[in-house]
């Protein structure tokens, strides 16, 4: 039971069997989290640095908890507020890490490809916690775990990813993963937020009408408008967006079946998702967060075996 890669840089490089292994392992770790003592000594001799160049609450706490529950030693780096350019600064980072003899690096960075760059220069195992608008593999894994938990399996399930597809690394990782695991994917949102050639690139349908997308799908994965990543005006106002693409109770009740609502967080309540939808029985948003720790524990556990910086 091994992964085919040394790093987790993206779902793009993972095989379906790796994904299956991670999800099955995560099931066992979820059981550990129900125990009175939610800790196992498995990564007792491993040092992990959390290198976060972008703001994060959810992912960072989730990774830190996962590491601590595996009894690993954690070191936290945050570079909030500074715009780190690719190239020289990352090399400085590399040298710092090397001198601390860490075994694994969990990295979130604003530049796409940053973890791939790092992976070429240091011997430690790298886990991508989100790079620019490229990928966010652990988010896709926990989304898949949550869908599997709620609906039993991934194959044949219809998942609509809704919102700011263009700037979303969550969308891209999800598209890769769902396709590898045999699910059907559709992207929906305003035309300005969906890359023009996405259908040709991935073979997935695009839907500009929200209601139609919700009618089609079993699961709606709702994305946040990535205001911090947009430097041009891509829609007229948040109110306009929510009128056309916001999901609320009324819309959900008008569908022919009950669909599952997901959101990677943080939610812009009233914009892409109203509270009466986000807090409803159909929403598995909080379960996603809970599953995030189990999935990250599984990834750390499976990669630690290959992290021999000893």
């Amino acid at each position: 039971m091994q992964l085919s890669t040394k790093h987790l840089l993206g779902i793009r490089d993972l095989q379906a069997s790796d994904i299956q292994t991670i999800l099955d392992t995560a099931t066992q770790f979820k059981e550990v989290l129900q125990r009175p003592i939610k800790k196992v000594p498995t990564l007792r001799d491993v040092t992990i640095v959390n290198l976060f160049y972008e703001n994060s609450t959810r992912t960072r706490i989730s990774f830190e908890l996962a590491e601590k529950r595996l009894s690993a030693d954690t070191v936290n780096f945050t570079a909030s507020g500074s715009s780190v350019s690719k190239g020289e600064s990352l090399l400085d980072t590399v040298n710092n890490i090397l001198s601390m003899k860490v075994d694994m690096v969990v990295m979130r960075h604003g530049a796409s490809g940053a973890p791939h760059f790092l992976a070429k220069h240091i011997p430690a195992a790298i886990i991508n916690a989100g790079d620019g608008i490229n990928e966010h593999p652990t988010q896709a894994l926990l989304d898949a775990f949550s869908i599997r938990e709620k609906l039993g399996s991934l194959a044949g399930k219809k998942v609509a990813i809704i919102g700011d597809i263009m700037h979303s690394r969550v969308a891209l990782s999800n598209i890769y993963l769902l396709k590898k695991m045999g699910a059907e994917v559709m992207v929906a949102g305003p035309p300005t937020l969906i890359p023009v050639h996405i259908t040709e690139a991935f073979g997935i349908p695009v839907e500009y009408n929200l209601r139609k997308a919700l009618e089609w799908c079993d699961v709606a994965n709702v994305l946040r408008i990535q205001l911090e990543r947009q430097n041009q005006v891509l829609f007229s106002s948040l109110r306009e967006y929510s009128l056309a693409y916001g999901i609320n109770r009324k819309l959900l009740d008008g569908l022919s079946k009950e669909i599952v609502i997901m959101h990677p967080g943080p939610i812009n309540r009233g914009v892409e998702l109203d509270s009466d939808a986000a807090d409803s029985r159909q929403s598995i948003i909080l379960q996603q967060v809970e599953n995030g720790v189990a999935v990250r524990m599984a990834v750390l556990y499976l990669l630690a075996g290959k992290a021999t910086n000893l």
Binding site: M1, E31, R35, K39, V40, T42, L302, G305
Partner: protein, 169 residues
């Protein structure tokens, strides 16, 4: 051991367990994954038959995370299912073969993550005597045998291997 001998030994062990714990309300049986489960299923079945209509509390424990060789090669994870508290209970750990004792050491550590048992005892089908690497002993033994390192004890069960016997290879 043939199928018949295996059946008799399992019956004897289940009687022994009950005899030593007449107040079985506080007794809990925990089978060790992956191979102790087949053995513990049978023990529990026998015990339940005798105390029917009551049932003995039964759980399954996977000790992979607590192994001392946990990252020297990834081991398949099996399900841990202990749907009750072990606090203040007498726990009987059940496994098929006792060899070096490392599995039981790991299982005891895994068990402590679920609470503080009043007592832990060990029930083993085959005790490979004199091969211990840790100071661990079984309280209830099916059969004690002398083996050397190059030999292997294989316990075969109907559900998994199609036949029911114990062989020495």
């Amino acid at each position: 051991m043939t199928e018949k001998e295996l059946g008799i030994t399992i019956q004897r062990l289940s009687h022994q367990l009950l005899e030593n714990h007449l107040h079985y309300d506080n007794l809990v049986i925990i089978g060790i994954q992956p191979r102790g489960i087949f053995f513990s299923n049978r023990i529990v079945e026998q015990i339940n038959r005798q105390i029917s209509p009551q049932k003995i509390k039964y759980g399954k424990l996977d000790n992979t995370f607590y192994r001392d060789d946990v990252r020297q090669g990834l081991h398949t994870l099996n399900q841990t299912d202990i749907p009750f508290s072990v606090e203040n209970k007498t726990v009987i750990l059940v496994d098929d073969v006792l060899y070096t004792g490392r599995t039981i050491r790991a299982s005891m550590d895994a068990l402590l993550a679920f609470g503080r048992p009043a007592k832990v005892e060990l029930c083993i089908l085959i005790d490979r005597r004199f091969s211990r690497e840790f100071p661990i002993q079984a309280d209830f033994v099916g059969r004690s045998i002398d083996t050397i390192i190059t030999q292997k004890v294989k316990v075969l069960w109907q559900e998994r291997d199609g036949t029911e016997e114990v062989v020495l290879l």
